[in-house]
Each structure stands twice: as structure tokens, then as C-alpha cells.
Assembly symmetry: C2
Homo-oligomer: 268 residues x 2
């Protein structure tokens, strides 16, 4: 499996993906699932993929061929709008699946791939699309500012709680990494290292691109900090009425919390 999440906030776009590919537990490999097409100042795209790896690689190969060809009807360079680019990538995906399906002597192989395409074309707003195996696509929206592909359920609650249009790009990136971290803890089919890309609105280029492994200091620190903070919240959640009003630990905390401190101080 795979887990990728892309987020659109006012300040730009965030993309995160894992790198584990498995055709069964005895065939586990690491593949890059985040692909960047960058023409600084003109247009910038990030494509993430879940599903059949051969279909994905066929789509990527065709995208690159169309970019390199002198005359083609359509390519990521020729797309006038982000929507056109998403439809173009969708058509490549359908073709890749169709081609193999017709050649195949075997049935029952799932050739489908689901893709996320995000980016910005100069003169347009940044945009984020999920491209279904059928080639059609949906955009993110202010009410649903993130799109997920792959093993999406474990990491959804934290996105639902945190991500809004006005979340900062960096907080969105941290939230996406926490969402991936939670998924990796609960499901071994999603695994490190993680890829992270950030596109700042109107920056017209990849602002940041990181590969984070479990021992990368920033990611190790984020994981540790998150785990510690989540555990610490439990020391200050409301008590049931049958619990003693003031536990020893609470006693200490209540003592330390001055009433004039801002609400954010109360979470200890």
C-alpha cells in the first residue's frame, strides 16, 4: 500500500508521501511516489501516485516523452490550466491501464492507479486534483482542503482537526507528517522514508523538498515531540466525576497554572 496526502492552504501547497511498495509482505520495496515537474517562474507540478506501480511508471514515462517531444498535442508544458493538466494525466493513466489490459493473458490483476496532481501555472491560482483510475478528477475545496490516496483512514482525524484554509504552510507540513507517522505506526504497509514538498503560492517553483528518514533529526524530533505531547494531554483531560478531584499530578499542575495565563497554557 501507500499513503500520500496533499494539502492546499492560502499560502500554498504541501505534498507528503511514503515510499513503501509491496506486492505482498514478501515483496517489499522502496519507490519514490512523489514526482516533480518544475519550470521556475512558469509552472510547477507535483504528481503523487498510489496503486499499480507499472501503470504509474507508464504515466510518468509518457509525461516525460511528451515534454521532450518537439510537437505534441498536449503536455504538462502546453496545458493552459491546472484542470487541463489533470485531465491530460488522467487520459495517460487510462491509456496505460487499457494497453496492459488488452495485452494481458492473465485476468484479475488490478491495474488501477490513483494520482494526486498539484501545482500552479503562472496567472492561475495553485490547485490540487485527485485523478481517479477512470481518468476523471476532483479538485480540493475550501471545505476539503486536503486530498489523500492509499491507506487514508488512520491519518484522516488529525487532518480533519487541524487543516484549514489559513493554516500556515509549515503547520500543514507538520500535520501531514504526523498523519503519515500515525499511519506508519498502525499499518506496516506504509513505510519510511517520507518525501515532503512545499510550493508557496506564486513562488512558481518548489520551495522546499525534503526526504525524511526515521533518523533524520527533524523527523525524529517531530515524532518524539508529538508522541510526548499526545501522552501529556491525557494528564489534563477532564476527570470522570468518580475520580478524586485532585490527583497528585494535577495538584502540581493546578498550582503552577496562574489564572491570568492565556488558554494555551492550560493544556499542560
Amino acid at each position: 500500500m501507500t499513503y500520500c496526502v496533499a494539502i492546499k492552504v492560502n499560502d500554498g501547497l504541501v505534498f507528503t508521501s511514503d515510499t513503501r511498495t509491496s506486492a505482498g509482505v514478501d515483496d517489499v520495496r522502496t519507490y519514490n511516489k512523489m514526482h516533480v515537474f518544475e519550470y521556475p517562474g512558469e509552472r510547477v507540478f507535483v504528481l503523487m501516485s498510489a496503486g499499480n506501480l507499472a501503470t504509474t511508471q507508464s504515466v510518468l514515462t509518457q509525461i516525460r516523452r511528451d515534454l521532450a517531444a518537439p510537437v505534441v498535442p498536449m503536455s504538462l508544458m502546453l496545458a493552459k490550466h491546472m484542470y487541463d493538466a489533470a485531465e491530460y494525466v488522467g487520459s495517460l493513466s487510462v491509456n496505460a491501464q487499457k494497453g496492459v489490459s488488452q495485452q494481458s493473458q492473465f485476468g484479475g490483476v488490478d491495474l488501477r492507479a490513483t494520482l494526486i496532481l498539484g501545482g500552479q501555472i503562472a496567472g492561475e491560482e495553485p490547485a490540487l486534483y485527485m485523478i481517479y483510475p477512470e481518468g476523471n478528477c476532483i479538485a480540493s475545496s475550501p471545505e476539503m482542503p486536503y486530498l489523500q490516496i492509499g491507506e487514508n483512514k488512520y491519518g484522516k482525524p488529525i487532518l480533519d482537526r487541524i487543516i484549514h484554509e489559513d493554516t500556515s504552510l509549515e503547520d500543514a507540513a507538520r500535520c501531514a507528517l504526523v498523519s503519515l507517522d500515525s499511519t506508519m505506526r498502525s499499518n506496516i504497509s506504509v513505510g519510511p522514508p517520507l518525501d515532503l514538498s512545499i510550493i508557496r503560492t506564486d513562488g512558481m517553483q518548489i520551495d522546499q523538498k525534503l526526504r525524511l528518514d526515521l533518523d533524520t533529526p527533524f523527523y525524529a524530533s517531530l515524532k518524539e515531540s508529538w508522541a510526548r505531547n499526545i501522552a501529556a494531554i491525557f494528564t489534563n483531560l477532564p476527570r470522570f466525576e468518580w475520580e478524586s478531584e485532585v490527583s497528585p499530578q494535577q495538584d502540581m499542575l493546578i498550582d503552577e497554572i496562574k489564572p491570568d495565563q492565556p488558554p494555551v497554557r492550560r493544556i499542560v
Copy 2:
């Protein structure tokens, strides 16, 4: 759908369930999915169910008939061990499915139900079993101290992070409620009110049983506190190297944090 989670810690057992039953989005009802069989001082059981409601109700009816009958080969009262009780309930579930399946003129109806049975029989440790539709069962273990049925993925990460053998019963209950709350936020097929039961080890009775609706003060306060604390964590997660070292908000916080304060203070 449904979401139920049961947790076994050293101090006892915690059971939580939602109450939404749906046969499609246009047929949504509220049903109790948590059933208590209590013989104070002798034995106490909690049974939770996910799946086909008719199968579950058939199992419950047969459990009650066997308890009321003067002479039966087996019942929750006659089971010598928790494992025997789980096998007995499993056999009732298989019979319920078989009966309907043979009578049915229609195919394609999913008659399966998955159950969680937990409790304690005097002289034994408390125990927790998941009973599959096939009638067989698995117990919880120190490495896997919780069991989930129904829509289990959204609420799994918080259980994986928090629940250990030595977690207090009340923290386990709060964690289970957060797990349900996160699931309800992300999936409308799981809905309030929530049921919570607690069995304290060797208490040989239901220690607490609560029904919590969205406006029940304790649950409303737990939800609010959790949401606020999760958001607050983001103000203190590690910064990316390109972010200014000290944001205005951090500035204030760092100023307020004295170095001799215990680590738990640092999460603000």
C-alpha cells in the same frame, strides 16, 4: 457501520461503543450495541456487536433464553471459563447466521456479525475476546491490549500511542472516547450517543456505565479539551530549519518556560 473498542489494562476492562446503525444513508437508526450480563460477586460480562443487527439480536435472545431456562447444556451462567463463554457466544452467532441463510429466498445479504465479549468469572483473571462471524475467537494480549470491531482504522493511532497494560482505567476510558470521537468526526457512519462501561479487576460487577451524548457535560468538555490541546501542540512542534528560529508566539512561550520545570511543562 459501527465502531466499538474494548481495552484490557491491569486495573480492569473498558468498553465503548457508538449507537448508529445504518442500512444505507437513508435508513439510519440508533441501537444499543453494548449489552451487560451482571451477576455481582459471581461473574460479569459485556457483549458488543458489529455487523448484521438481526444476527446480533438473535444471539442476544438466545443468551437470555439460556439464562432463563431451568436446564440447558450451556449458558453465560454455566461457563466455567471466559474462553468457554466466548466459544458459546460464537456458536450462537454461527447458528443465527445458518438458520437465516437456509431460510432465505434471497442471496447476497451479509448475515455476519463480529462480537467482543469481555468480563470476569470469579477465580479467573478478567478477559477480552473478539468473536469472529465463523464462531472462533481471539483474546487480547499484553502486546495488543485492545480489540476493535467495525470502522476501526480512524481511531487506531491514538490507541496505539496511549494504551499499555499499566494505563489507568480512567485514562483508557478517555482514550477510547477520543478514539470514538475522532472516528465520528471522520466518518458519519459512526454516531452518538456513546456507551461506556468499566469493569474493575476483581470488582465482579459493572463499576461504571455511562451514556454520553454530544451535549453531556463530561463528553462535551472532553471533546473540547482534546480539540484545543491537539491544536495547541502544533504551536510547539519542532520548526523547519527555514522557519525563523523564534516566532512571536514561541517567543512568549519560551520566555514563560523556566528551565527547571518538568518536561511535561514544555508541551504548551
